[in-house]
Amino acid sequence: MAAPSRVELVRIIFDILRTQLLSVGSEFTEQSSLVDAGLDSLAVTQLLLAIEEATGVWVDESLLTPENLASAESLAACVYELQRRAS
């Protein structure tokens, strides 16, 4: 199976957040702040596990910087970079 593109990663992460982890409405977008949307220590770990399950990429917790958690888009960029380095 081909590794997901950056755009696909954004969609995967956004869907996990919206349908499994966060209780958010239509105002939540791929650019929304994850912390402001309620992402906490437990949810972020569950997010990492869900990303690993969906993509096979494990994001080390040391990479969970405010910049990488700014939005679904920025987190997808981080995952994409990890995926690219691994391939």
């Binding site: 499994q20 966060l22 949307a37 309620g38 220590s41 437990l42 949810a43 972020v44 405010p66």
Partner: protein, 459 residues
């Protein structure tokens, strides 16, 4: 009247039943209830009469605040029996006029309150103590003390925020929506760490939880107070408030070493090592440190539920040889956290606590006691992050500081509660009065200070 305020009794959550079991055990062994407390250190201007009026209105509009807790027919899971809540039984507000000057010390009456009993079966769930200095002209200390299951830590802060909003006229006492009130079950199910549906799936998860707990018994914990015993509860606590520079140093270390969203493990590591320092001073070995850390099960991003406990537990176990080096300990805690979340420990805990709703409270406490060989835990610990962020005033007075305190049974006899208020770290240490000698307390604080700030030597 909101739908949740209808005549139907409101079931306790699984976590509520866990805490109810603690309450029964604390009353039986130590003659005190299992209570929690939120303290506000206020400036001038607290509107006492308005506050008393507000409490009466809130209580009349929300029967859960004065509802007896009972087990229907003596068998079914316990409920808040709202239909039997006495209309005139508002939570008491005790006013204490202090003749002594205000100091950093927490008023003795707040400790006394934690050592008192509140009868859940009579709906004695909540009370307030107001200590006024110079008739209020020099400020006021405020304590809200509640049966631990009425609110969890987050819920208690939401309640204070909601009272403040009522005072400002932005909310009405009868305005509590179901999401803020008791009707949250539908929101927590099927999302994040909520328990699975179906009794068989829940049973398997509860069994997995019990098996994990039983694994701790291979090297059982030992608390500084020793195993559970019958002794009158005599708690006290103090709160050390770090200055802005020390706080920012500690927060920076926590973020760098434990992660942007998981600083809790940094604080837990520091508190484990502070207890370890006292064991070492006594020339004893703890065999292991076993500590529960609360995991908040509220739906992320939703308006916060106020009443009942919406939590599960993550348990950690480390051994004395893993505690000597801070970085090693922190690494082990991080690995355990990830492994336990991966294996579904939080969901398993929620399922186990849901089963506990059916068990007699004493049976549940005995099971916990047997698994951990007479100890409940090495100590209790909580890091609750920012305390009432965004709330600068409460009922007319500036909030100068604020923090949580909680009762801790005679065993383990020690609890550390940390939080941040306005860029200052509050380190609360609740303890049974005879558990620490003066020298041990000093060693505890010095070690904690060293690890929080990364410096050698105490203050």
């Amino acid at each position: 009247m909101s739908s949740w305020q209808s005549a139907a009794p409101i079931p306790l959550t699984g976590a509520d039943c866990f805490l109810r079991a603690f309450d029964a055990e604390a009353r039986r062994r130590n003659g005190a209830s299992h209570l929690s407390q939120l303290v506000l250190r206020l400036g001038r201007g607290f509107e006492l009469a308005r506050f008393c009026d507000l409490v009466t209105q809130v209580s009349r509009a929300n029967p859960l605040l004065r509802a007896p807790i009972r087990r229907p027919f003596g068998l079914l899971p316990p409920v808040y029996d709202t239909p039997r809540a006495r209309f005139d039984a508002a939570p008491p507000v005790w006013v204490h006029e202090s003749s002594s000057p205000r100091s950093e010390r927490v008023p003795q009456v707040f400790f006394d309150r934690l050592n008192a009993t509140q009868d859940l079966r009579r709906g004695e769930l909540l009370r307030f103590d107001i200590v006024r200095y110079g008739g209020g002209a020099e400020g006021t200390d405020f304590a809200m003390t509640w049966a631990h299951l009425l609110f969890d830590g987050s819920g208690s802060e939401h309640f204070i925020e909601w009272l403040a909003a009522c005072h400002r006229g932005e909310r009405m006492p009868e305005d509590l929506s179901p999401a803020e009130g008791a009707g949250i079950a539908s929101v927590t199910e099927g999302r994040g760490a909520a328990p699975p549906r179906g009794p068989r799936a829940q049973g398997l998860k509860a069994r997995a939880y019990q098996a994990r707990m039983a694994g701790f018994a291979a090297r059982p914990p030992r608390s500084l107070a020793g195993p559970l015993r019958r002794t009158p509860q005599a708690l006290c606590y103090e709160v050390e408030t770090y200055g802005p520079e020390e706080t920012s140093r500690s927060v920076e270390r926590a973020t760098q070493q434990a992660g942007f969203l998981t600083p809790v493990l940094f604080y837990l590591a520091a508190v484990i090592r502070a207890h370890h320092a006292v064991f070492r001073m006594r020339g004893l070995s703890a065999e292991s440190y076993v500590v529960p850390v609360v995991a908040n099960l509220r739906p992320k991003g939703a308006r916060g539920a106020i009443f009942r406990s919406h939590v599960s537990m993550l348990w950690f176990q480390v051994f004395p040889e893993q505690v000597e080096d801070f970085a090693t300990l922190l690494g082990i805690l991080k690995d355990q956290r990830l492994a336990r979340i991966r294996e579904g420990f939080i969901e398993n805990g929620a399922a186990a606590m849901n089963f506990a709703r059916w068990a007699p409270s004493r049976l549940y406490a005995r099971m916990a006691e047997r698994i951990l060989k007479g100890e409940l835990a090495s100590f209790f610990f909580a890091y609750t992050g920012d305390f009432l962020p965004g709330l600068a005033q409460f009922v007319g007075a500036e909030i100068r500081n604020g923090f949580h305190a909680a009762g801790v049974m005679a065993s383990p006899g020690s609890a550390a509660l940390l939080s941040l208020r306005d860029g200052r770290l509050n380190v609360g240490h609740v303890r049974q009065q005879d558990v620490f000698s003066a020298a041990e307390l000093s060693a505890f604080r010095t070690q904690l200070h060293r690890d929080l700030l990364g410096v050698d030597g105490g203050r």
